[in-house]
């Protein structure tokens, strides 16, 4: 049987990794979306100027 303290330590580590990677990925989607929206606005303005 694995000792409780060790078992909890690895469980917390695993869930920390799972939640962190998922959060980073969701943030990356949001950041990319905002960047593309900005690009689109700039390009739209350039297109209208043309």
């Amino acid at each position: 049987m694995i000792a409780y303290a060790i078992s909890i330590k690895y469980m917390v580590a695993a869930y920390a990794v799972i939640l962190s990677v998922l959060t980073i990925y969701i943030i990356s989607l949001f950041v990319r979306w905002r960047k593309l929206k900005r690009d689109l606005q700039t390009l739209d303005a350039l297109d209208k100027e043309k």
Binding site: I2, S7, A13, A14, L22, Y25, L29, L46
Partner: protein, 231 residues
């Protein structure tokens, strides 16, 4: 076009609720396993991430086939979205499995059949992005992606069946009856929690896929406008 559809908002809310429900089931409902105790709780999210990873790679292959038939770029966007999300989920499955392995197997990593095939699977899909970036022509890139995901999908059943084909330390959870080391007998609440987590992560996958496809469409819009201006 860029306003969020109501269905996507509802799906997002549902995903969050299901995710919180899955956490509650894992930590409040599922009983402690007698030998591994707390660390066994990694199992529920580990298997769900692996499931979504494999599901997405198959979905990408299906989108690839549809692209090859229709030649519509939207299917290339769906394919790339599915590969990206699945690569992330499968990476989580590999890392969480490795952390779980340390107290149960005494090591973070072993080059046994399951771990090796899973690593190869992840590498195949990481290479997909690198190779795609090297192709300038949009149509050639999409054609390459479709064929690549179709061939890459072969590694999905190989990885899934690896623990049944070869002798391995990794337990057979689905379809059980394993003699593999550190396998554990699942009680009904454990099984229910596992199924709930699998369902939850499937919904999360669908939600993220929708967001990622919208991102791909927006990127395509930007690309087209860039080309129009530079012409």
């Amino acid at each position: 076009m860029n306003r969020q559809p109501k269905a996507l908002i509802y799906l997002t809310i549902l995903s969050v609720i299901l995710f919180l429900g899955a956490l509650a089931m894992v930590f409040l409902y599922a009983p402690l396993e007698v030998v591994m105790n707390y660390v066994q709780k990694v199992f529920y999210f580990h298997i769900s991430n692996a499931w979504v990873g494999m599901l997405g790679f198959v979905a990408a292959a299906v989108a690839g086939v549809i692209y090859l038939i229709t030649r519509e770029l939207k299917w290339d966007i769906v394919e790339m979205a599915a590969v990206e999300i699945s690569t992330v989920f499968f990476l989580i499955a590999i890392i969480s499995g490795s952390i779980w392995a340390k107290p149960t197997w005494g090591t973070y990593w072993l080059w046994d059949a399951r771990l090796t095939t899973a690593t190869i699977l992840e590498m195949i899909y990481l290479s997909y992005f690198l190779l795609r970036q090297g192709i300038e022509d949009q149509e050639r890139r999409a054609r390459f992606g479709a064929v690549y995901t179709l061939i890459g999908a072969v590694s999905v059943p190989v990885t899934f069946l690896s623990i049944r084909i070869w002798q391995t330390i990794h337990p057979v959870v689905i379809g059980g009856g394993s003699s593999a080391q550190d396998s554990f007998g699942m009680t009904s609440p454990m099984l229910l929690t596992m199924l709930f987590c699998l369902f939850t992560f499937s919904v999360i996958f669908a939600t993220l896929l929708w967001y990622r496809v919208r991102l791909g469409n927006l990127a395509e819009q930007v690309e087209q406008l860039k080309q129009k201006i530079t012409q």
